[in-house]
Symmetry: C2
Subunit: 208 residues, 2 copies
DNA sequence: TCGTTGTTTTACCATTTGGTCAAAAGTGAT
DNA sequence: ATCACTTTTGACCAAATGGTAAAACAACGA
């Protein structure tokens, strides 16, 4: 009788478990991103998921558990575009592709963007460790790559940290402040104009 | 017996009224900006203001009333820098001064910035009318000014709406996402570096 | 000093909300 | 069909929270 792993073997999640946890997390993403952590209620999540509240609490230890699980699961996907920056690529192209990917994520995953925005706005109380352990090293690596490009004069001189901040700010703005953007712009597809602008912006900033 | 105004004369607020309403609004700014509308409680606001909860409700009709009053009072101050853009000034200087003023406000009034950010993130449910009635006309005017400058070839060709969005995004980012910025940058004064970066960014974007 | 008005507090209330518990209803292998 | 196990539910709870009522208190002019 071989034991698959150590003492506390976590039983593999059943099909039902997988399905319902996914249902709950998707519902929670919807609700948390719309109302923030405090503004969201378990009842809303339960209704959105099509499950009863006690059933939700059968799969998660509590509201906070759901929120933290969500943030953890999304963090990697959220940072993927930055990981794809190739130190050996053409600097300007690499950065512009990063901008483009971030803008696409803003359009395709606005819920995720708002979820993170909400969390950071409140001072990152439930994700602070990730900022240090996951985000900081990745950003430091990227900063080094950019600084090398600057040192090699392959892009114009800029502060790498603030460059990254500006890319985050300008791209996520279209998801996080959508209500404002929609109120001010009548075009049907704002993102097309946004991409043209951002392409120009970073080309002019970085071209040598 | 002259009546100072029409039927329902609103009595002038007493000194106590003025003081306490100011106390409450300042406390509410602190609490709302930190926890968002749903996350803030009347008890927190009362404690911060040094008043009892029923006393708070003597001066305001309810939680929502406080929030709306805050947003209304702050809106004008928040938009002031954009109003100061001078159509007859030097285009690049005018825009850079606007960027600088917005960045300063991000540093000096981060609570106000986060209050608005929270509200917009939630879909602007309590401020939507202001977006239409106050912000939209002002932005339209500014867009016209910028488009004129572009037409006169006094600045490089850019989409005015997206230029404005990018200025908002990049400057407010330092207030709204402060938790993230602080986690990633060790410099004592981030805003100095931010200003150098933004000055460069918009100079390179707009210089003819 | 009295009465009037404006201000503050004490004691409550109703609802919402995160969470619990035990029983009931599946589910699947033998 | 049975048994062990997982999943779901209805009923409930305690705390938090927005808000109220009425009495107590303060301010101030006549």
């Amino acid at each position: 009788m071989p034991r698959p792993s150590a003492e506390d073997t976590v039983p593999k999640p059943s099909r039902i478990q997988q399905r319902n946890r996914a249902l709950i997390l998707d519902a929670a993403l919807e609700v948390f991103s719309k109302h923030g952590f405090r503004g969201a209620t378990l009842d809303q999540i339960a209704e959105q998921a099509g499950l009863s509240k006690p059933n939700i609490l059968y799969y998660f230890e509590g509201k906070e558990d759901i929120h933290v699980t969500l943030l953890n699961r999304l963090m990697d996907a959220w940072l993927a575009p930055m990981r794809e920056i190739d130190p050996n690529g053409q600097p300007l192209e690499e950065i512009l592709r990063y901008v483009q990917r971030k803008l696409e994520m803003s359009r395709e995953y606005p819920r995720e963007s708002r979820l993170f925005a909400n969390e950071i706005l409140q001072g990152a109380p439930r994700i602070g460790s990730h900022l240090d352990r996951t985000l900081k090293p990745l950003v430091n690596d990227t900063v080094k790559i950019i600084e090398d490009w600057v040192a090699q004069k392959r892009i114009a001189k800029v502060d790498a940290h603030h460059l990254i901040f500006s890319i985050w700010a300008t791209t996520q703005h279209y998801a996080d402040f959508d209500a404002q953007v929609q109120a001010l712009v009548s075009e049907s597809n704002v993102h097309v104009g946004a991409w043209e602008f951002l392409d120009t912006l970073y080309r002019r900033l970085l071209s040598v």
